[in-house]
């Protein structure tokens, strides 16, 4: 709706797990992106906490039907932290083997790129893990003994981050190496992550900055750069704000000219 004729806006879709689902919490990166493109693009949230790339792949056609009248101009894909969880003996849980993770990402990427000739894709590699905080979370949620078990490690996540980057390069998608970007920040463990895994407001800021860097990079897509995009209704209007003081000052000047 509302995207016809002269005032159809490009559509940006954020597809991912909890770090997308939570992207509109206070100071969230999704909200900030929406604000930045407030008169230029629509941002839709397709975030599903807990999801790995298996679920993301299974739900793909349901969430993103083919031949939609308004295909997205940009899809941001952000999965990996859950895929990188440790495998469990039962075979249940979030873990996805790294080769399958890559394959799933490839399929998702290629599907999104097929939605229209102009749909662009950016992959976000998972952020680093602060293991000590993961143990604390386990202790608080499940009791003292649970702290002996790690659900994921920073090294495992690095491997998934690298896998994500290599898929993006192979597929010609943009990519944000969030695993590295966050670790450049001092005290990233507590400044950029809220529970050793999810992004704090500061972590979200880094993600947004990196995302904009990709969008603005020279070999990417100029039509998605806010500064180059048409803003809705920017023409001057007789109803534009004018302060009573300015009006009075102007009529004095006009009188002086008589």
């Amino acid at each position: 709706m509302m995207m016809q004729a002269g005032h159809r806006r490009p559509l940006f879709v954020l597809y991912g797990a909890s770090m997308v689902e939570y992207a509109f919490r206070p100071e969230g990166w999704g909200a900030a992106l929406t604000n930045m493109y407030s008169r230029q693009a629509d941002v839709l949230l397709r975030g599903y906490k807990g999801w790995n790339t298996r679920r993301a792949l299974e739900a793909l056609e349901t969430i993103f039907p083919k031949n939609s009248p308004i295909p997205p101009s940009l899809v941001v894909i952000f999965f990996g932290t859950n895929d990188a969880a440790f495998p469990l003996p039962s075979g249940r849980g979030q873990y996805v083997p790294i080769l399958e993770y890559k394959d799933n990402l490839r399929h998702i990427c290629s599907y999104m790129m097929g939605l229209s000739d102009t749909t662009r894709v950016i992959l976000i590699a998972p952020p680093p893990i602060f293991e000590e905080a993961r143990r604390t979370v386990a202790r608080v949620r499940f009791g003292e003994k649970a702290a002996e078990y790690l659900d994921r490690t920073n090294e495992r996540t690095r491997a998934y981050a690298e896998a994500c980057i290599s898929v993006a390069q192979e597929m010609g998608a943009g990519v944000v190496n969030l695993w590295s970007a966050i670790q450049k920040k001092s005290n990233w463990q507590t400044e950029c992550l809220s529970d050793g895994m999810h992004l704090s407001a500061e972590g979200g800021k880094i993600l947004l900055e990196e995302l904009l860097t990709v969008i603005k990079s020279e070999n990417w897509v100029p039509s998605l750069i806010a500064e180059h995009m048409r803003s809705d209704f920017t023409e001057p209007s007789p109803y534009d704000m004018i302060h009573p003081y300015l009006e009075a000052a102007q009529s004095c000047n006009e009188t002086a000219l008589l």
Copy 2:
């Protein structure tokens, strides 16, 4: 797009002036609404700072074309602060006479209600004005003498707020009396407004609370209440998160049962 078949989501549209355009700034009420309905509804931003109801009316069919494949389920309409500005001798500027303001709101309301049989409308009455802060803003922006000129007063704005409420009642739309709601708060002048006019984070919180109160009121529309709405993909999955400690504890129990 992405709103077909089983996973089509209701669409909420926020249509208004700056207090809508800014609704996705940090701690903004639009972002909070999006977060609240994160797996249930899509929220689109149609905010145009400085607009009065004349511009809102003129742009109506461009922004909200008829026979759209996805008409909104809810439209939040938030104009009035600019209409209530003082008239200027030149006839330029934001001011709209109160009777015309009512008439414009009636037209906008009725147009939105005609977008589909199920489109519901909520009008937001303008928030109060803290005049001292308006003078300060004028001084800072235009110099000492400008502080002698007020661009709008709280009493004028009250009249427009009442006009808005009466139109909503007449048209069967929901309504938020933001002018009153904010003034119930102690130190509303500085707590709830950022510059004597726009909403602070606290002011946005009050707006959101009042909006949810309307949505949840008994004679309104149950299908728009988050607690009653279907959330996307809530069925259990073999890939749901399970902590390694729980897995280990469970396999111990199973062993004990053998």
